[in-house]
Amino acid sequence: MSEAEIEGELRGAIARLLRDRCGIETVAALADGPDQWDESLWRALTEVGVPGLPVGEEHGGGGAGFALAAAAQEELGRRLAPVPTVSLVAVQAALMAAGSDVAERWLPRLTSGEVVAAVATGRTADGWSAADDVRATRGRDGWSLHGHVPIVADAPAAGLLLVACVTDDGDPGLFLTEIDASAGVHALEALDPTRPLGGVTLDGPAERVTGPSGHDTVLAAAENAALVMLAADMVGVGAEATGLAVDHAKTRHQFGRAIGSFQAISHRAADMFVAVESARALVAAAAGALDEDPGSAETRIAVRLAAAQAVDAAVAATQGCVQIHGGMGFTWEHPAHRYLRRAKGAEALIAFPDRLREQAVTAVLHSRKEDSHA
């Protein structure tokens, strides 16, 4: 089978599963109900191997790489699937980059879907950093973490947390610590209820994933993976929102004609489509770059430009979807707001698009300067 055929089969399989298990009514009921995420959907996705897609076969994964993991995430985004793949893949990427004993021990459990993992970090203009209010302490029995992280994506679904924080020695550290949704995780009301958020209080044992020398590489691997997966999610959200808007514009009649025949509508729809397609092109390139050369400056650039484009496209498409639906798009009953929430939530989740562009352009200009000095 060619790559395109494999991707097509994977997308088809996930799309079929989601059609049965993750219709918009199901998503709406879950979002408006007490549950934080869709555990039964997660089990079904686990059975078809979704949690292990980017992980190598030596760790029990599918060895499909980020390219196919991103394709799968686009399908999940399209259906607003309330499952923690973005966070999980970020942790998997970190553990693959670390290659330490701790990483080797945990990877298979994350790959099988047995354990869900999430990421707790701080955030600066340059990206992920040590969490502000967490300290890692080395005691007689090993490391322990103490402190609080105010917002952690997917924490209510997670049993394991990758924490970036400073150690007693003042070194940057990356740790794994087990968490429990019933203790230490305080569920937050999220703008996007399909991606649960938690405040996490840490006060217990942890395992160090990598020493100070590997810290930057491993954290960057997690951040790159999270950005690509979120970007893929946004392509799905944006594509579906565009599709909904187009379908509505074909059937809704005003002034005696379909509103989609008015160029104010059709050109906006064309722009939504172009933005989403452009994002899909960049996301495919970025996911391919992650597979081929994960640590390079070029990959860092590709990932950030893709994520910025995808988030912007999704926000524009979901806002356009609300607008084209008119008054109906403003109601709670209509699903348009659920797509808008997913996009707008994603915009703020890891890094705002302007920050990502700034990071990318810094790297591009840096490489130009090096070229001119070479």
Binding site: V246, H267, V274, E277, A284, A285, R357, T362
Partner: protein, 404 residues
């Protein structure tokens, strides 16, 4: 799931097996033998390019994608891409008349044996140049409103009317034109495709000075120009359907050269930003990042369009998206460039002290046409809305389902 080689955006894969017996070696030898710097003098440079392409045709190394009976090499798509790469790498001169390759597919598919024998070889050799006579003052986006009349008289047509936006009109030996042979009502019916000799009596070419102050286009006035009926391509009244004939993969391969060019220009703009110091401005940096993203979208989309063609799929959506992205990107690129120039952006393109000989200012003015020529951005949006998204047409056309 088994282990797969990933890299959706990786290099193109040779799924189609193209075999051109020895063409690579022959082209390699040819390019080695034809190495050399282009002459500085404009006329000498043109002659140099003409000679190159005449030799290329002589060597049987012209027109990689054309069928053999049209004088082409009949290479498959993968080999065609390799061919273009080799030519680009060797800095071979471009064919001096790009418009020739718009008329050629129509001739190859719809021309008579006599027309093919007469026109294709001189066209490839750049012995004869072509200009396009489609647009008229009253027929721009709606080309079917054209009104240049061709009246049959014996074995000839008498052609009267006006064409506009005709590039190369002053250099061209021939014009491929759309003319109205049927009733005068606007519409695609009654439009014919005619080959008009530019030295025929009754033709006046008047240069059209454009926004940059230069004359890249001309107006062509036709006053009872006598054209042999044998120069009709296709059926009388059947011109509209064959006007946009393309050969196989042209739509997919057309983006390749643009992609390399835009990559280079964006790199040059980044260098300019470092030189002027504007690269330190956060707003400029956002704009630069946007361009970097756009140039990557173009590259990635062309690759996806190519991959679709290699799979045997229709690259339609990716191609439509790229057209719009490209025309707006070209404009944005030059808008940002003037910002990056800083205070020097007030200078005209001919001012001797203008940075880089005024190229960015000139480029900015010229880029205003990228959302107008070859389909306005508005028409391109209509195309995406109607052909890709399936939205009803804005025109009150009962067939489109627009009105109810």
């Amino acid at each position: 799931m088994s282990t797969v080689q990933t890299g959706v955006a990786g290099t193109s894969r040779d799924t189609a097996s193209d075999t051109g017996p020895g063409w690579r070696a022959r082209l390699g030898d040819f390019l080695t033998a034809h190495q050399g710097r282009p002459p500085r003098d404009r006329a000498a440079r043109l002659q140099w390019a003409r000679d190159f392409h005449a030799d290329l045709e002589e060597a049987g190394l012209a027109a990689p994608g054309w069928p053999a009976d049209a004088g082409g090499m009949a290479l498959g798509l993968v080999d065609q891409i390799a061919y273009h790469r080799l030519m680009t790498k060797a800095r071979a001169p471009k064919h001096p008349c790009g418009l020739s390759f718009i008329v050629a597919p129509t001739l190859i598919k719809h021309g008579t044996p006599e027309q093919k024998a007469r026109f294709l070889r001189p066209l490839l050799r750049a012995d004869e140049f072509w200009c396009q006579g489609f647009s008229e003052p009253g027929a721009g986006s709606d080309l079917t409103a054209l009104s240049t009349r061709a009246v049959r008289e014996g074995d000839d047509y008498l052609v009267t009317g006006q064409k506009i936006w005709t590039s190369m009109a002053d250099q061209a030996d021939w014009m491929f034109a759309l003319v109205r042979t049927g009733p005068p009502e606007p519409g695609p019916a009654g439009i014919s495709y005619l080959l008009i000799p530019m030295d025929a009596p009754g033709i006046t070419v008047r240069p059209l000075r454009d926004i940059s102050g230069g004359a890249h286009f001309a107006e062509v006035f036709l006053d009872e120009v006598r054209v042999p009926a044998a120069n009709l391509v296709g059926e009388e009244g059947g011109g509209w359907a064959i006007a946009r004939t393309s050969l196989g993969h042209e739509r997919a391969t057309a983006f390749l050269s643009d992609e390399f060019r835009y990559r280079r220009i964006v790199d040059e703009l980044f260098s300019l930003a470092l030189t002027t110091g504007e690269a330190d401005d956060p707003v400029v940096r956002q704009a630069l990042a946007g361009l970097e993203a756009a140039v990557r979208v173009l590259a990635s989309n062309s690759r996806r369009a190519l991959e679709a063609v290699l799979r045997g799929d229709d690259p339609g959506a990716a191609a439509s998206v790229n057209r719009l992205v490209k025309s707006e990107f070209d404009q944005r690129l030059h808008e940002v460039a003037l910002r990056v120039l800083g205070p020097a952006a007030v200078l005209g393109q001919r001012e001797p002290s203008a940075p880089e000989h005024g190229r960015w200012t000139y480029g900015y003015l010229m880029s205003r046409s990228s959302t107008i020529g070859a389909g306005t951005a508005e028409i391109q949006r209509n195309t995406i809305a109607e052909k890709v998204l399936g939205l009803p047409s804005h025109r009150d056309d009962p067939r489109s389902g627009g009105a109810r």
